[in-house]
Amino acid sequence: MIKWMKLAVRNVLRNKRRSLVTLLAIGVGFAAVSLFYGYVSYMYYGLRVSAIRGEGLGNLTIFKAGWNEKGKLEPEKYMLSKEETERTIKIVSAEEEVVVATPEIHVSGIVSNGTASTIFIAQGVVPKDEKIIKGGWAQFRPVRGKTLDDKISYGVEAGQDLARYLGFTPGTDGVVMATTLGGQMNAMDILVNGVYDTGSDATNDKYMRCTFDFAQSLVDTKSAERIVVLLKDWKKTEAMRTELLSKLREAGIPVEIKTWNELSLFYYKVRGMFDMIFLFLFSIVLVIVIMSTVNTMGMAVLERTREIGTLRALGLKRRGVSLIFALEGGLLGLFGSVIGIFLHVIVWGAIKIISPTYTPPGVSTPVPLVVDLVPHFLFILVLCLVGLSLLAAIIPARRAAAQNVVEALGHV
């Protein structure tokens, strides 16, 4: 095999200009795909962290069975009772993989500053657990003023546009109104502890965070709507869902568990869109690689017809001829990929140095443009392009092997 590899390498280098054009086409294609993947990889990471920590979805959210289907119609029936909540948290927290399990209630209604009012959607959370879930994310989107505090149960954090509409600043008062689970209108005073950026234009004008106790009082219940679970390793999300579902059912608590990506519509849609763009881009590169390799190898077969005849006369079998040209195609893919990795590293380094930022649609603040260097993907892409080039070379290789020896020897 080494001798044929040597022959293939030298033949690739034989027509330098043509090989260079092909290698550049493959290399640029490789870099385009790998850089896009690197960008998407970082973006998926950002969206994941944003969903789990920023949106406070955690890794898993436990609902009472039926909540997602009928919970809005009969909330009391499909909320976790105080006893169920406590037992669930105890069972879940016993798991080694669980960092925290915390109850939440989401409530919506009207918020007023006394003269003007607007709608709000609030997350009722346990402040100390909320801090754990937010983790390092809190520094990325800091709260202006004070954060939630168990000691001041009527303290809230307001989205920055909502605060601007109502003139809320840290320390100002307001009133929220919402319907209780029993259908009565309830109103409670609030103290705006802090103002925060949700990260999205669509939610900044209506989101609030309040304490879990406050939310329970507002809707007049002792139950919890959901229990948010944060895991040590996000990759174990699915396994832990199965595990917890089994244990909670064994304990006689009827629940359903959703994962963070099932609840984050934004993540789901963005990922779907970028997966499609990636597929489209990869298809274009695939066509370029195949066309370039077929063209180069086709020319090589034409130019080396007499050489093929000679090798056949010396006793090389048809499959041997196919192997030589397929190897050459594979080498084009390999050398092109090496150029692609080189281009990727250059662009990756440049982005690291320049640190550009941009504001995606619907996002309230600029985000850094980051491209990840994903070694395992680069390796897979190399294998993929080498395989593709090898396959693309098979068509001209088979044509070369099928040639009549006498005609090939007489080729001028």
Binding site: K3, G309, L316
Partner: protein
């Protein structure tokens, strides 16, 4: 038993609707160790005959046996093996692989056969030394003269110790002095190693150096087809 046994061999080529009768009933026997020249004008069928003897082409009709094996009954792979193991080729235009050195070119038939690299190298060096090219083993073909390239081709043809070497106009692209030198080399190898050489030529100046002459004309053997 003859090394080559041809009986009533015919070969037709189809050029569109026209049929060219390149060989029209050839009977030929060649024994092991012979040094045979196929001589005749252009278009007489010399190359076609050599292509058939070299098992790179098939007759339209007739029987062709090489070392007792009927060529028409062999598959493409079996013919490739036969060529690799038993037949050496020397071409008019040398047909060396341009990206390989002289040594690598000579090693090729052995490597096709699957011989270990070390063994192939040793045998190729021996053959290159025998044709007087020990100093040029690492040169690529474009750095060698026509005569040197043809000597590499001879070394390549002989490296597998074939029973038969076929040379199609081996001196056509060489000057007169080099042509005689190449022919002398082939003849010496024939005498020393008892390798059968069959070569075509239309150069009358070379004919006094051959042991047996087969004269062709219009696809027929006019003289020397059977053993004397």
């Amino acid at each position: 038993m003859a090394l080559i046994e041809m009986q009533n061999i015919k070969k037709d080529y189809f050029l569109g609707e026209a049929v060219v009768h390149a060989l029209q009933g050839i009977d030929l026997q060649i024994d092991a160790g012979e040094f045979v020249a196929i001589w005749g004008p252009s278009g007489s069928g010399k190359t076609t005959l050599l292509n058939l003897i070299g098992a790179i082409d098939e007759p339209t009709e007739g029987s062709l046996e090489i070392a007792g094996r009927e060529v028409r009954s062999l598959s493409d792979n079996q013919r490739s093996e036969l060529r690799n193991e038993s037949i050496g080729f020397i071409f008019q235009s040398f047909n060396l692989v341009p990206v390989f050195s002289a040594l690598e070119n000579v090693m090729l038939p052995l490597q096709i056969k699957g011989a270990p690299s070390g063994e192939a190298k040793a045998r190729a060096l021996g053959r290159l030394e025998a044709v007087g090219l020990a100093d040029l083993v690492h040169n690529r073909p474009f750095k060698m003269s026509g005569g040197q390239q043809q000597r590499v081709a001879i070394a390549r043809a002989l490296v597998t110790d074939p029973s038969l070497v076929i040379a199609d106009e081996p001196t056509a692209n060489l000057d007169s002095k080099t042509a005689h030198m190449i022919l002398d080399l082939m003849r010496d190898l024939n005498e020393e190693e008892r390798t059968t050489f069959i070569f075509s030529t239309h150069d009358q100046r070379l004919l006094d150096r051959v042991k047996r002459l087969v004269r062709m004309e219009d696809g027929r053997i006019m003289e020397g087809g059977m053993r004397q």
